[in-house]
């Protein structure tokens, strides 16, 4: 297996995102590209990322290869890379991951693989009845401001419009999309009027992990008593997060 590219940016971005949620994971090197799909340790967040092989100048792998690794190690290496540096990744005797970074200096790293069970790397599919295409900047503004009020945010669908409610014992916050911005939101709803509540620190963690990707589009899928799926897509990679909902108190 060998993967190489003239820029480290895509791998760096992806590792920045997954490192916020996962400590160790299995990376899939498939014939179609690189993928990660795993639960965080609390099992309330699931993250899946794919980078298609076309995004790399060199991508050679035979069949599906699973490589288990401590993300911190590889993340630290790519986090130090600069704009004009290239990289290559290969395997040594199926036991170590070799990483070469080439710029004004040539850096060679050899990282041990860890012992994680082979698993089916799949993404969950839920029967969502509602999806919303929303600019990242709008979603980010709502989440960051909702955090000022409480820990859980209610997504409310009423008359095919979305609004957000945060209520704590003594504090309340209500957020909706301004009329002028409504044209930037696209709602598809077959679920009627409903609401579903999610945990703000997890949502905020997701927003923070993507904070340097302001131009990224976000599609949200959710439903009554269903997880929330946040799908972020740009030209380089696709990342999806799934969050467990708050259980209704009644």
């Amino acid at each position: 297996m060998k993967i190489a590219n003239k820029s480290c940016d895509i791998i760096k971005s992806v590792l920045n995102i997954v490192n916020s949620f996962l400590e160790e994971t299995v990376i899939l090197f498939s014939e179609k590209g690189i993928g990660i799909a795993d639960y965080d340790l609390s099992k309330t967040v699931f993250i899946s990322v794919i980078v298609k092989k076309e995004k790399f100048e060199e991508y050679n792998t035979e069949g599906d290869l699973q490589v288990a690794i401590k993300l911190k190690n590889i993340h630290e290496i790519f986090n130090k890379t600069t704009e004009n540096e290239s990289f290559s990744i290969s395997l040594e005797d199926d036991k170590r991951l070799l990483i070469n970074i080439n710029g004004e200096t040539v850096r060679e790293y050899s990282l041990p693989l860890i012992d994680l069970e082979y698993k089916d790397i799949k993404e969950p599919v839920y029967e969502f009845k509602t999806s919303i295409l929303i600019p990242f900047s709008i979603l980010s503004q709502i989440i960051e401001n909702a955090k000022l009020i409480g820990e859980n945010i209610k997504f409310i669908i009423s008359e095919n419009k979305i609004s957000f409610d945060v209520s704590e014992t003594n504090k309340k916050g209500f957020f909706k999309i301004a009329e002028d911005s409504n044209s930037r939101i696209k709602i598809e709803n077959n679920g009627g009027n409903f609401s579903s509540e999610y945990y703000l620190p997890s949502l905020s963690g997701i927003i923070n992990s993507l904070s340097d990707k302001k131009d990224i589009t976000c599609k949200m899928y959710f439903g009554e008593n269903l997880p929330l799926k946040l799908e972020f897509n740009n030209n380089d990679f696709k990342v999806s997060f799934y969050l467990g909902p708050k259980i209704e108190s009644n």
């Binding site: 920045n16 490192n19 916020s20 949620f21 400590e23 899939l28 498939s30 179609k32 590209g33 993928g35 799909a37 639960y39 965080d40 340790l41 609390s42 099992k43 309330t44 967040v45 699931f46 899946s48 794919i50 298609k52 089916d120 790397i121 799949k122 993404e123 969950p124 599919v125 839920y126 029967e127 969502f128 009845k129 509602t130 999806s131 955090k147 820990e151 598809e188 709803n189 077959n190 945990y199 620190p201 997890s202 905020s204 963690g205 923070n208 992990s209 904070s211 340097d212 899928y221 269903l226 997880p227 799926k229 799908e231 696709k238 799934y242 969050l243 467990g244 909902p245 708050k246 259980i247």
Partner: protein, 360 residues
């Protein structure tokens, strides 16, 4: 890009951790204080049998109460008193689960400190911290009324607390008082009056201070931050030197067992001595917060960058790590966030048609 932690969230988690560490240490003081008090007041004819007694149900299932007393007030019948001490009960569900556990004490139990290993009569005691008493009484009364719980023995609630003395700043009093149930029918009038009026013991009495220094763990697993704190303050100094900053799980466990589990954790079988796993978890956490490195099974400890308030320092570091890694499940439970594992779903390959997620 850096993963930012909500400072308010961090403070809440840190405060919870500090409270858990404090409560663990306080429960240790409660056990030592009661033991000391009973040994001093022989007129109560109540023996502190141990914090490590293993009682057995008729089906041989072991029970490990936090403390066991035997009252021999009338010189003819011995009353056995197993006590489940609770330093923290998070909510009413937690209270109910703990009360349900007490139903296991309904049988006649063996393992007492008598020739026959049985006592003549038994009661069951739940001893919650003062702040939790209201919800304990509420849940207990409602559950008995609704027949959700059934106790065949007398159930007693002894509240405990630690209160600084107003008169003497160096004095801190352990107060234990029976606030539910009655021992009148058990014919132990002296002890019954004492516990009904309330036991008061200064836990800063010189002899007790020595006991406290020699007993840093109970059979209950400590909060990880507590173990880290004890290792830092009491143990590393005995192992590490300028040339060698390496410790092993075994070295930590040996020192704790030799020096810091003097009375409470000693039992004939040593079955409940300080567990190596507790040391391992704490050392691994030091690695996670970048204060140690795992070097092939031994741990290289970084003794720099210390705050004077070790408890606060460790609680903040661990809270920050756990929030970042999504490990702080207590917080999620409190907010009733459902695990994704609870949802049935289909699966698709990662690279399958990107539009396969359709709105139904």
């Amino acid at each position: 890009m850096k993963f930012t932690i909500d400072p308010e969230h961090l403070n809440i988690v840190k405060s919870e951790k500090i409270r858990d560490v404090d409560r663990y240490y306080q429960s240790l003081q409660c056990i030592l204080g009661l033991k000391f008090y009973l040994e001093k007041n022989k007129n109560l004819k109540t023996k502190f049998i141990g914090a490590e007694v293993i009682l057995k149900r008729p089906n041989d299932e072991p029970l490990n109460p936090d403390m066991c007393l035997q009252i021999d007030d009338n010189n003819s019948k011995i009353l056995g008193v197993p006590i489940e001490l609770k330093s923290s009960l998070s909510d009413e569900n937690d209270v109910f689960k703990n009360l349900q556990e007490l139903e296991r004490y309904n049988d006649k139990l063996s393992g007492w400190n008598t020739k026959s290993k049985y006592v003549d009569d038994e009661v069951t005691v739940l001893s919650p911290y003062l702040e939790d008493v209201g919800r304990v009484l509420r849940v207990l009364k409602e559950s008995i009324k609704d027949k959700k719980l059934n106790f065949t023995k007398e159930i007693l609630i002894w509240q405990w607390s630690l209160v600084p003395s107003l008169k003497n700043p160096n004095q801190e009093n352990l107060l234990i008082q029976q606030i539910y149930g009655d021992l009148t029918s058990k014919n132990v009038p002296v002890f019954n009056k004492c516990i009904s009026d309330g036991i008061k013991q200064d836990i800063n009495e010189m002899q007790l201070i020595i006991e406290k220094e020699r007993n840093l763990f109970t059979n209950q697993e400590p909060p990880i931050e507590y173990t880290m704190m004890v290792m830092w303050q009491n143990i590393f100094g005995q192992i590490l030197n300028q040339k060698n900053n390496l410790v092993s799980v075994e070295e930590v466990a040996d020192i704790v067992n030799d020096y810091y589990t003097d009375n409470l954790m000693k039992n004939p079988n040593n079955e409940y001595k300080f567990k190596k796993d507790w040391a391992k978890k704490a050392l691994e956490m030091l690695v996670n917060i970048n204060m140690a490195k795992n070097k092939g099974g031994r741990y290289e400890i970084k003794l720099s960058c210390q705050s004077k308030n070790v408890k606060s320092y460790f609680c903040e570091k661990v809270a920050s790590y756990q929030i970042k890694k999504g490990l702080h499940r207590d917080k999620l439970n409190k907010n009733k966030i459902q695990s994704l594992k609870d949802f049935k779903h289909k699966e698709k390959d990662l690279f399958e048609d990107e539009n396969s997620q359709q709105v139904m």
